[in-house]
């Protein structure tokens, strides 16, 4: 992946999240927003290894995955704003939207629950013979949920074409993962299922891409599931209202210095920086446009509230 494309995609996600948090703070969004600022390199890197017909399953912190899956910004804005969006018509909102059109199985607001569902997409992939894979992202804390255990074992025993990305941002809401398990790296759990597991720098899109690429190749080739633990940090709160009183002094600052966009900028020469700034301007415009259009979309018609519960 070209560095500028990578920068652009990460910047797009970053600005989406920042804008959503602004909207939330302004009272324009009423539900909760769980931004992924700092973690953008994970979806952006991973996506380079995927085909458009692969399946993606994410969590409430899933806007980055939605963007790389190919969902239009306007649809995300509209959905999160509670409008009659093309995504879920406002029924899902920030933490629980999905899109069959781009095989985005969806976000999930029950910790760990996406993994079993992703196994199902993987089963379809295996059955349909088109060598699709099913990629699922979960958090570090989710690895302590029973659903995750059951699904990992099932995926291994069935040799499902599944790629499990554990976004280890070292916190589950306000609790450090280090206090919630005795293993140092969650990748150590792969062995408990016979699943190969790698640890990558989750703030380095290229490193994520390489690991996911290997995992995807393995899955497409019938080799079964792989776990990729991406070490990263959100430098923002768990949700928009989280003031992060639980983080030790300096930690957030260090995370800010090390986040993927900051890294790219730090490594860039002057020419590149100029180009990045040009991208920034383009992305800002894109975001503004998307939001402007989203705001024109009406709220869902209450008269439709009983529709679509059954076929």
């Amino acid at each position: 992946m070209d560095t500028f494309d990578c920068y652009r995609q990460m910047r797009r996600i970053r600005r989406l999240e920042e804008t959503l948090v602004d909207l939330k703070n302004a009272g324009e969004i009423l539900g909760s927003v769980h931004p992924c600022n700092g973690q953008e390199a994970v979806p952006v890197g991973a996506a380079t290894a995927l085909r458009s017909d692969d399946y993606i399953t994410a969590t409430y912190r899933g806007h980055g995955w939605a963007v790389v899956a190919g969902i239009a910004l306007v649809d995300i804005f509209a959905e999160v704003l509670g409008r009659a969006s093309n995504l879920n018509g406002g029924r899902g909102a920030s933490p629980y939207f999905s899109s069959p059109g781009v095989n985005f199985i969806g976000e999930n607001s029950i910790v760990g629950a996406g993994l079993p569902i992703a196994c199902g997409a993987a089963l379809s992939a295996m059955r349909d013979g088109r060598a699709q894979v099913s990629l699922v992202s979960i958090g570090d804390g989710a690895t302590n949920q029973g659903a995750v255990h059951e699904a990992l074992n099932l995926a291994a025993v069935m040799t499902l074409p599944l790629v499990v990305v554990v976004e280890n941002n070292v916190y589950s809401e306000m609790s450090p993962i280090a206090e919630m398990t005795r293993v140092v790296q969650l990748a150590e759990r792969g062995a408990a299922y016979g699943i190969p597991a790698t640890i990558v720098d989750g703030n380095d899109a290229a490193e994520v891409a390489a690991a996911v690429d290997a995992a995807v190749a393995r899955a497409r080739g019938g080799g079964g599931p792989t776990m990729v633990e991406a070490m990263t940090q959100r430098y923002v709160g768990h949700h928009s209202g989280d003031v992060q009183h639980y983080r030790p002094t300096g930690e957030v600052e260090r995370a800010r210095a090390d986040e993927p966009l900051a890294r790219l900028r730090a490594a860039a020469d002057d020419d590149t920086l100029v180009k990045y700034s040009a991208v920034d301007i383009e992305v800002d415009a894109e975001i503004d446009n998307a939001l402007t259009v989203a705001r024109t979309i009406p709220e869902p018609d209450p008269g439709t509230v009983l529709e679509h519960i059954y076929v």
Binding site: Y55, T57, N88, G89, R91, G92, Y96, S98, S99, P100, G101, N103, I105, G106, N108, I110, A113, L115, P116, I117, A118, C119, G120, A121, A122, L123, S124, A125, R127, D128, S134, G146, A147, E150, A151, N153, L154, V157, M158, E307, H308, I309, Y310, V311
Partner: protein
């Protein structure tokens, strides 16, 4: 309900009817896949899937680890992406370890996506007490299911319905939980193997009557039929309604029947409080207020877990005497 076809009925046990419907599914639809604990090579602990593995192989039916949450989640993911999974949860009691996938995932899929996803899957399970079975293998769970919008719920009481309703459940694009009745597995009935697949829904009047309507489903149906027999010997002409589908709930058949008899009793094996019987009562009472000659009464298990000792079970599970007494009570109003 569809017309019976020309072919003659076959007498099968309930469990064999289930098996026939599953075989039909694997034969007639490529998108179906069956999985669960001990369902493939062993053929199922009750034999519901016997012989299917041998015929269809491990691409169509396979055994899973003891991981109900993973099973239901995988069913959902498969159903969202072109498959039509049929999962067996061995006992209804085990649904509780996987309840999140049912309530927070499967049930939400279609509605929350505004109809963009469908989840055409079937969860087969069986429920109820059996002599000596412990509390963890005796739950009747239909009220938990019926209180969960987004799920369809089928509760067949005969071999014929076990076949027809399971086929319907497989065909429809909504997620359906088919709650079979373990105690009825050995019972025989006529099965129309070559008939058309029926539409979903619809209660059935198993016995017409003028004096009182007895509504039930699943394991309670034979009890109600026996009670109606006994009542008939006393000169009381009871109408017996088998709800069959608990979602969609065929309120109109119930209320038409009670509109005629002006008296009703609802019977279920699940415990009383917040059972589905209360719903039937509340709806029928609302629509028939003024018509009713007596309150619609309920016969259900009292609010205790199921004790294992047969002498205690007999004091919990609705029986003919209790149904007859309830009918007497409504007639005495």
């Amino acid at each position: 309900m569809s017309e019976p076809s020309g072919s003659p009925a076959t007498s099968l046990r309930y469990i064999q009817a289930v098996q026939a419907a599953l075989r039909w599914a694997l034969e007639s639809r490529d998108d179906t896949v069956i999985f669960g604990e001990d369902v493939a090579k062993p053929g199922g602990v009750f034999g519901a899937t016997k012989g299917l593995y041998e015929t269809f192989g491990d691409k169509r039916i396979f055994d899973t680890p003891i991981s109900e949450t993973a099973m239901l989640g995988m069913a959902l993911g498969t159903a969202m992406t072109g498959g039509r999974p049929i999962v067996e949860i061995m006992y209804a009691d085990f649904m509780f370890v996987a309840m999140d996938q049912l309530v927070n995932q499967i049930a939400n899929t279609r509605y929350v996506s505004e109809g963009r996803w469908t989840a055409p899957l079937v969860v087969r399970t069986q429920q109820g007490y059996s002599p000596g079975a412990c509390a963890q293998h005796s739950h009747s769970i239909e009220a938990y299911l019926a209180h969960t919008p987004g799920l369809r719920v089928a509760a067949p009481s005969t071999a014929g319905d076990a076949y027809q309703m399971l086929r319907t459940a497989i065909i429809v694009d909504d997620p359906v939980v088919v709650v079979e009745a373990r105690m009825l597995y050995p019972t025989r009935g006529d099965v129309l193997l070559d008939s058309e697949v029926e539409e979903m829904g619809g209660a059935r009047i198993l016995k017409a009557g003028r004096d009182v309507t007895i509504v039930s489903w699943s394991s309670a149906v034979p009890t109600c039929l026996a009670a109606a027999d006994q009542l008939a010997r006393e000169g009381v002409d009871a109408e017996v309604v088998d709800m069959r589908w608990l979602n969609p709930l065929d309120h109109s058949t119930v209320s038409e029947s009670i509109a005629k008899t002006r008296r009703g009793v609802v019977v279920h094996e699940a415990n009383l409080t917040a059972g589905l019987g209360a719903e039937v009562v509340a709806r029928a009472t609302e629509s028939l207020f003024g018509v009713l000659q007596a309150p619609i009464l309920r016969v259900a298990a009292p609010d205790v877990p199921m004790p294992a000792a047969p002498s205690l079970q007999a004091a919990v599970v609705p029986n003919v005497d209790r149904v007859v007494s309830a009918v007497h009570a409504t007639l005495g109003y």
